[in-house]
């Protein structure tokens, strides 16, 4: 059984946000509510301040605190490493959003972040919380795995493009977007990444590219002290894209 994971090389990431856009197209994200986001920030102060950025999908943790707190097992970890939400079982208590150390979960019924409220433009069909004409065909909806446009009253998140990756041939070590035979199984953000900063493969296979990169370039995990053990690793030499240091304390 594969253990899917991602490596993001921050020295290659240009912060172009194509990943965010591709994810939005693939998964019908609401404007401003990005399952995959690139966070921009600055470190230091004038005149030595620098602009930084940080791409952030769901970490699909080995020990997902979101799954442990979910009272109805709506959030669950699959054998092959995905952390998913069953929209048929989610009661919308939002405990998972409290427990996620990375802030990558989204509740459906909230004020629109960007006007006009696109949910009001393409109103709900009674099943989905909104119903854009460009959405994927009905038969691709898979609520048990949190794929599609979410219904009302539930939490949603990045699925590692479960609808693509889960169909990959058994034994695949890497979903390399350069391999035409594997492109349809590769997550949208990986596929679209222009500087090829994203790698996706089987973390349990020591010969996979992701495993080799983590070993040879010292892949690190975000907020590893929480014990969640993300399956998304970052490579960083400290160029533009970097892992944010802890927030400057107000008391400093």
């Amino acid at each position: 059984m594969a253990k899917w994971g991602m490596v993001i090389d921050l020295d290659k990431c240009t912060g172009c946000q194509a990943c965010t856009v591709a994810c939005g197209m693939e998964n019908n994200r609401l404007p401003g509510e990005n399952w995959q986001d690139v966070l921009f920030y600055h470190e230091g102060e004038f005149p030595s301040g620098t602009l930084k950025w940080f791409p952030r999908p769901c970490m699909h943790c080995e020990n997902p605190s979101c799954a442990e707190v979910c009272p109805t097992r709506a959030t669950y970890k699959t054998e092959d490493g995905f952390v998913l939400i069953d929209w048929n079982k989610c009661i919308g208590c939002k405990y998972c959003m409290i427990a996620c150390p990375y802030g990558v979960r989204f509740y459906t019924d909230e004020k629109a972040q960007i006007q006009p409220d696109i949910k009001q433009v393409f109103k709900s069909d009674g099943k989905r919380s909104w119903n854009p004409p460009w959405r994927a065909p009905d038969n691709r909806d898979d609520w048990q795995h949190g794929v599609g446009i979410q219904p009302i009253g539930v939490v949603s998140k990045c699925t590692f493009c479960y609808h693509r990756v889960s169909k990959a041939p058994k034994g695949t070590a890497d979903l390399d977007p350069k391999n035409p035979a594997l492109r349809e199984f590769t997550p949208a953000c990986v596929l679209t990444c222009a500087p090829s900063a994203r790698y996706f493969g089987d973390l349990s296979n020591p010969h996979s590219e992701v495993s080799k990169l983590i070993a040879s370039k010292r892949g690190v995990r975000l907020r590893d002290h929480t014990g969640n053990k993300p399956q998304v690793y970052y490579l960083t030499g400290g160029a533009a894209g970097t892992i944010p240091t802890d927030r400057r304390g107000k008391k400093a």
Binding site: F40, C90, C100, F106, P244
Partner: protein, 392 residues
């Protein structure tokens, strides 16, 4: 009702007024909540995925269910631990515990995305590692035991083996339920403001104080603020003229309030002193004027209740219980929101705290449970002889 129980009627006019306020408040707030939520659902809340996820309705829920727990504790003084001086309050406390529990779960029901789905998804999934799951199971057990116990004493059965066992079962169920609610917050390692293995103990302590203050306030309201209208054992309990001083309300009230103040102070001072990331929430907490109201109110109440000169006076007890309840409510709000004001993952680019002001719908979800609680209480006071006690 059996012959060995006496009952004394509280002020009918006050109870009538309470039921009117309760019903009017329920109807009005329910109408506003429905008007706002029917179209917008939770978009009528000011909660956001990248901001405050659990808002005022969760704080309201915590306040009411904590008060319910405390009321059961007060009822248990007499019925489980045999401190007979507290028996005059027992029946009223059990009914109030039920009313506050309904109030708490009403707030929660409107906060959940799918409250009805919860009814089948919780038992069929049964996530044993989720504290929230256990909270649901234990609260269900609690409400069943509580109602059965009430039914027993309403039938005049205070002392039978079955009645005693139900009292003990309610006490154990609510202790565990409430401790689990503490764990819902206390187990969140990623939120340092909450993360504390002793959070269940802290919750139980503040619950007890909440229950005591609520019992005192509602008992006085029931009798129109006139202690002389109360049955003698109840007067003695509130006045502190019981045969043993420690088994009187002023002493128990001031002791529990004192211990709670120590716990609150310890938690606050540690939080403000420490440089732990996430503890900036304590700075947020103490810089709010609401914190000053909470702290000053509770300290004033403590000094009023601890002084032998003032603690037996009706006005002092009414004021103290009101100040304590206000302080505890502010405390619940600070607690629930404080765990979220420092973003868990925003890095250096968010230097400030997340801003949150409850929306009208969220405020109505405070008015609704409060009104419902008053209405349920008034019904009990009118129909169920809540002042009854065993004639011993």
């Amino acid at each position: 009702m059996s012959n060995n129980a006496i009952s004394l009627n509280p002020q009918t006019s006050v109870i009538n007024a309470l039921s009117l306020v309760g019903i009017a408040g329920t109807v009005l707030s329910l109408a506003l909540v429905f008007m706002n939520m029917i179209d917008e659902r939770h978009a009528s809340f000011n909660t956001t995925s990248d901001g405050i996820v659990w808002g005022l309705p969760v704080a309201t829920y915590v306040f009411f269910v904590l008060t319910s727990t405390g009321l059961t504790f007060v009822a248990s003084f007499g019925m489980v631990f045999g401190i007979k001086e507290f028996l005059p309050l027992a029946k009223r406390c059990i009914w109030l515990a039920f009313a506050t529990l309904v109030a708490g779960f009403t707030a929660l029901a409107f906060e959940l995305g799918h409250p009805f789905r919860m009814l089948w998804a919780l038992p069929t999934s049964f996530q044993i590692v989720s504290p929230m799951n256990w909270m649901g199971v234990l609260y269900l057990a609690y409400v069943v035991f509580l109602l059965l116990k009430f039914q027993k004493i309403h039938a005049g059965d205070w002392d039978s083996s079955a009645s005693k066992k139900l009292g003990i079962a309610s006490f154990i169920a609510v202790t565990l339920a409430h401790a689990t609610l503490g764990s819902v917050f206390g187990m969140m390692a990623m939120r340092p403001f909450w993360f504390d293995g002793l959070m269940p103990v802290y919750f139980l302590l503040t619950a007890l104080l909440s229950g005591i203050a609520f019992a005192v306030l509602m008992t006085y309201i029931a009798y129109g603020g006139r202690r002389e209208a109360m049955p003698e054992p109840l007067q003695n309990l509130l006045k502190g003229t019981t045969p043993t001083l420690y088994a009187s309300m002023p002493v128990v009230f001031s002791t529990v309030l004192g211990v709670t103040l120590v716990a609150l102070a310890a938690r606050t001072v540690t939080g403000v002193w420490s440089h732990q990331d996430g503890f900036q929430a304590f700075d947020w907490m103490v810089s709010s004027p609401w914190f000053a109201i909470e702290a000053i109110g509770m300290v004033v109440a403590f000094f009023l209740m601890v002084s032998p000169r003032t603690r037996s006076e009706v006005g002092v007890q009414l004021l103290s219980s009101a100040l304590v309840l206000l302080g505890l409510f502010i405390g619940r709000y600070e607690f629930v929101i404080g765990g979220q004001v420092v973003p868990v993952f925003k890095g250096n680019w968010v230097l400030d705290f997340i801003e949150y002001t409850p929306s009208l719908t969220e405020w109505m979800l405070l008015v609704l449970p409060l009104s419902l609680c008053l209405a349920i209480y008034a019904v009990g006071e009118k129909k169920l002889q809540l002042g009854a006690m065993p004639e011993r």
